[in-house]
Amino acid sequence: MPGLVHVSTTINGNPTDFLCEPRQSLLEVLRDVLGMTGTKEGCNDGNCGACTVMFDGRIVTSCLVLGVEAQGKEITTIEGVASPEGLHPVQQAFLENAALQCGICTPGFIVATKALLDREPDADEGRIRHWLAGNLCRCTGYDKIVRAVLDAEEKMKA
């Protein structure tokens, strides 16, 4: 068994230390080492977006990042999107617009959507569809997801 590596990182604003094998992905570390199962695995090869997290200000599929690469980085997962006061407007918009059915892709979509709206609060439908093309949803046909993102833009301005 390979030796474990000590990693110091920041997850959802909290300084976090963990031990992982060098071969473990960030997704495995989040789910299996840290018990943060909100980030989902759909393909484990970077093609579905269910494991999307923020990594030093960029969105990444955490299945394609090694756990050891988190050293000294800032990571935001779905668990860090809502606040104690309540849901983030993106989450509220997904809920109100019925933008989820089974919900397995939802954490990835919400993290990706928040990343978009944080930098482009007026993204139009075409831009939203382009940005979210890396996140697969098999239930909704994306219609209500795109409408939820447009609604979230309004909510964030209010």
């Binding site: 094998e21 809920l95 019925a98 569809r129 979210l132 239930c139 994306y142």
Partner: protein
């Protein structure tokens, strides 16, 4: 014109409103617990070794190196299945069924598809389990595969099962064959119908295997306790079906198997079969520890699903007035490695949209060296509709007739007898066709080169089957609703709404929970478009039971005969004494002091399912240089009976349409000549992304189902039926060549154009 229209005829207080789903906050915050999220003390991780060959005899399996590997706790093969120690005499008439079910879980004599499970390991971690399965030595004698129905039906085809004999119209043939069964439906006089026709057109079609494509891979965690109690946590549409399957395959009492359905990340019919559960159970029994087994995405493609690839022929006879007089249909569906394609459903759906006086439908269920097919949204119907609707479209084109007008002249309506026997009750196909004809999309001209419009209709039976619901009254006037139906797309909301409506209380006062198989009565799968209908019915009956008991309690408190108490809109009152009046909430508060709590219960198996129809319009543009098709506009019209929660009905319609778009344009299992799937990732198996699509407009038509208190029909399946044909016809009109095989990917369209 609005994007999402609801043509409602009856309004209710709670039913028909767009409430927030009860599980919504957990799902947008990542707190919802799916199968892969299960954590138990001492949990081991499992990994399955799978056949690299599509067809091979297994000569030997040596697991010794894997067993000796550090961190490994158990290794199992088919030798560990109960079937290995049961004789043909012990199983009697069950022999072949149990053999096929057992061999599907773990191969014994032969591997029948690439990905067929051969052995499995439980180890301290996923990585150790992966390393250990590589140490298992399997000696194969590779055999030639039969990959398509055409290959498998050849007289000298490679045989998958030496002991499979064709069920030929109910009689067993005497020679082993890959054709598991031949069934037929017939009505009227086909020859006479052909003679009455002015136009007769016959065409041949093929469609590829496609996968359901749920984003959550299969998963199962099992713990087999030393007292024989087997607990399973998994992602399934049918916990009771998993319980039955596991008990059957492991020859274990059904009462000693408890299945807890975790949140499910999509299914579409593909999460009914117990693939991993028996393996996880065996690994747990052997190791004495709980074991979690997950599929990778490649394993999901190679060893679960798919929907069958098909070979179909359709001949239609039509008069100059546009009336169908004859239909002769041949359907051959791939079953995969074991018998059981949905060819019978395909045959029953093929002509269901039309009143056809003379028809013959032959269906063949054919085993091939692909994963055993699983249900996929309206199983069998999309393929059959692709063939039939494409021929209708071509006839309309030849005759210069409007495709909606043609369909209205032939449309099924109340009283029409289907080819397989049943007579339609009140149905809404005509209303859907009229809604299409009146829709802005249909009236808008489609201009520009390389563009085409397609229209197609589709049918699904919708199902009833068994459901159970318990409703307990809380002291604060709310109720807890316990159900056995897994919530795959918002059904907690639609079931709670029906209970609230019946009780006359607020939607927010009903708290629904989906529970395990020990905690509620038998409930069939979430599938077949049955849940909102049948489990909704169970919720209504349980609510009625609560009402009856509330009336009894009020009568006792008021010391008056039960007949004097009435229950209207959540208020109990005395029929003649206006002083005696209590709201549901006021009585709820008094229950514990006046005889104890109240729980209403119901077990139902309703027979009044209302058949579902949809009609779709699509505009496409084809790039003449690349053959790539772009969906410009899409409108789906469907009779929901009553949309309990219109947003989730629209969601079913939009999701089904987009799966149909993928099926029509891109998705297919691509095999090399050894029968190995070459595109088992989401990169190469190309499902639609947000960027590939426009908004999907919807019209919900509400022709109430007389067989349900609120008129519910069920909505999940119908939306995937019309897209294949509608898109195929639209491309045909855009490029001037008929599309007769799917997927119509860029290469196929370029080929059709050349």
């Amino acid at each position: 014109m609005a994007s999402n229209i609801v043509l409602s005829e009856v309004e209710y207080n709670v039913v028909g409103k767009r409430h927030l789903r009860p599980d919504g906050v957990d799902k947008v915050t990542g707190r919802a617990q799916y199968g892969a999220d299960v954590q138990l003390t001492g949990l081991l991780q499992g990994k399955v070794l799978r056949s690299p060959h599509a067809h091979a005899r297994i000569k030997s399996i040596d697991t010794s190196a894997a067993e000796a590997y550090p961190g490994v706790h158990a290794v199992v093969t088919a030798a560990d299945l109960s079937f290995a120690s049961l004789s043909r005499e012990q199983l009697g008439g069950d022999y072949q069924r149990v053999k096929f079910a057992s061999n599907h879980v773990l191969a014994s004599e032969k591997a029948l598809f690439k990905g067929h499970p051969i052995a499995a390991v439980a180890a301290e971690s996923q990585h150790v389990a992966e390393e250990a399965v590589k140490l298992i030595k399997v000696e194969y004698e590779v055999l030639p595969p039969a990959m398509t129905v055409r290959q498998a039906m050849e007289p000298n085809a490679s045989l998958l099962h030496e002991d499979l004999f064709t069920s030929e119209l109910g009689e067993l043939s005497d020679k082993p064959s890959n054709v598991a069964s031949h069934m037929a439906f017939e009505t009227g006089d086909l020859e006479q119908g052909v003679q009455q026709a002015d136009v007769v057109l016959e065409r041949e079609f093929e469609t590829a295997s496609v996968h359901q494509g749920y984003i959550e891979p299969h998963n199962s965690t099992a713990f087999w306790n030393t007292d024989g109690q087997l607990n399973i946590w998994c992602s399934t549409q049918g916990p009771f079906v998993v319980r039955t399957s596991v008990a059957d395959i492991l020859r274990h009492p059904v009462s000693r198997v408890k299945v807890t359905p975790m949140e499910i990340g999509g299914g579409f019919g593909g999460k009914i079969t117990a693939y991993l559960e028996p393996i996880a159970a065996l690994l747990s029994r052997k190791s004495g520890r709980p074991v979690k087994v997950l599929m990778s995405r490649t394993e999901v493609f190679e060893a679960s699903g798919p929907a069958p690839g098909t070979w179909m022929k359709v001949k239609l006879g039509v008069t100059n007035e546009g009336k169908i007089t004859a239909a002769d249909i041949f359907l051959a569906f791939e079953a995969g490695a074991f018998p059981g394609s949905p060819v019978m459903q395909g045959a029953a759906c093929a002509l269901a949209c039309y009143d056809v006086p003379n028809a013959r439908i032959n269906g063949y269920d054919v085993v091939v060296n692909k994963p055993k097919t699983a249900a996929y949204r309206a199983p069998g119907s999309p393929q059959a509709a692709f063939a039939v609707e494409s021929v209708i479209d071509e006839i309309c084109e030849q005759m210069g007739m409007d495709p909606v007008e043609f369909r209205l002249r032939n449309a099924s309506r109340e009283g029409v007898r289907r080819v397989e026997g049943p007579v339609f009750r009140r149905i809404g196909l005509v209303e859907c066709l009229e809604a299409v004809r009146n829709h802005d999309h249909y009236k808008a001209p489609l201009e520009g080169p390389n563009r085409g419009r397609g229209v197609a209709a589709g049918f699904w039976f919708n199902r009833g089957f068994q459901s159970a619901v318990n409703i307990s009254v809380n002291p604060d006037g709310t109720v807890n609703l316990i159900e056995g139906s897994v919530d795959i797309g918002g059904s907690r909301a639609s079931i709670a709404q029906q209970a609230a409506e019946t009780l006359g209380i607020a939607y927010e006062d009903v708290k629904p929970t989906v529970v395990d198989t020990d905690s509620i009565g038998y409930t069939m799968v979430t599938g077949g478009s049955r849940t909102t209908f049948a489990t909704g019915w169970a919720a209504i009956e349980a609510a009625e039971d609560v009402k009856t008991q509330m009336v009894e309690r009020a009568a006792r408190i008021w010391d008056t005969p039960i007949e004097d108490v009435q229950y209207i809109d959540g208020v109990l009152s005395h029929k003649s004494d206006p002083e005696l009046r209590m709201t549901f909430r006021e009585l709820a508060r008094q229950l514990l002091g006046t005889g104890g709590g109240i729980t209403g219960a119901s077990n139902v198996d309703p027979s009044g399912e209302g058949n579902g129809f949809g009609v779709h319009i699509v505009d496409v543009e084809v790039d003449p240089d690349t053959g790539k098709t772009t969906i410009l506009r899409y409108t789906a019209v469907q009779d929901a009976g009553k949309a309990i929660h219109p947003s989730y009905v629209e969601g079913q319609m939009q999701g089904g349409v987009v799966q149909g778009i993928g099926w029509a344009l891109n998705e297919e299992y691509f095999f090399n000549d050894q029968g190995q799937m070459m595109n088992s990732s989401f990169l190469d198996y190309r499902m639609p992304t947000a960027l590939d699509l426009p908004m999907i407009d919807t019209v919900i038509v509400e022709v109430a189902n007389p067989g349900h208190p609120y008129g519910v029909r069920g909505v999940g399946e119908v939306p995937i039926v019309p897209p294949l044909a509608a898109i195929g016809s639209a491309i045909s009109h855009a490029v001037g060549q008929r599309i007769d095989r799917l997927p119509a990917n860029p290469g196929a369209v370029l080929e059709a154009m050349s």
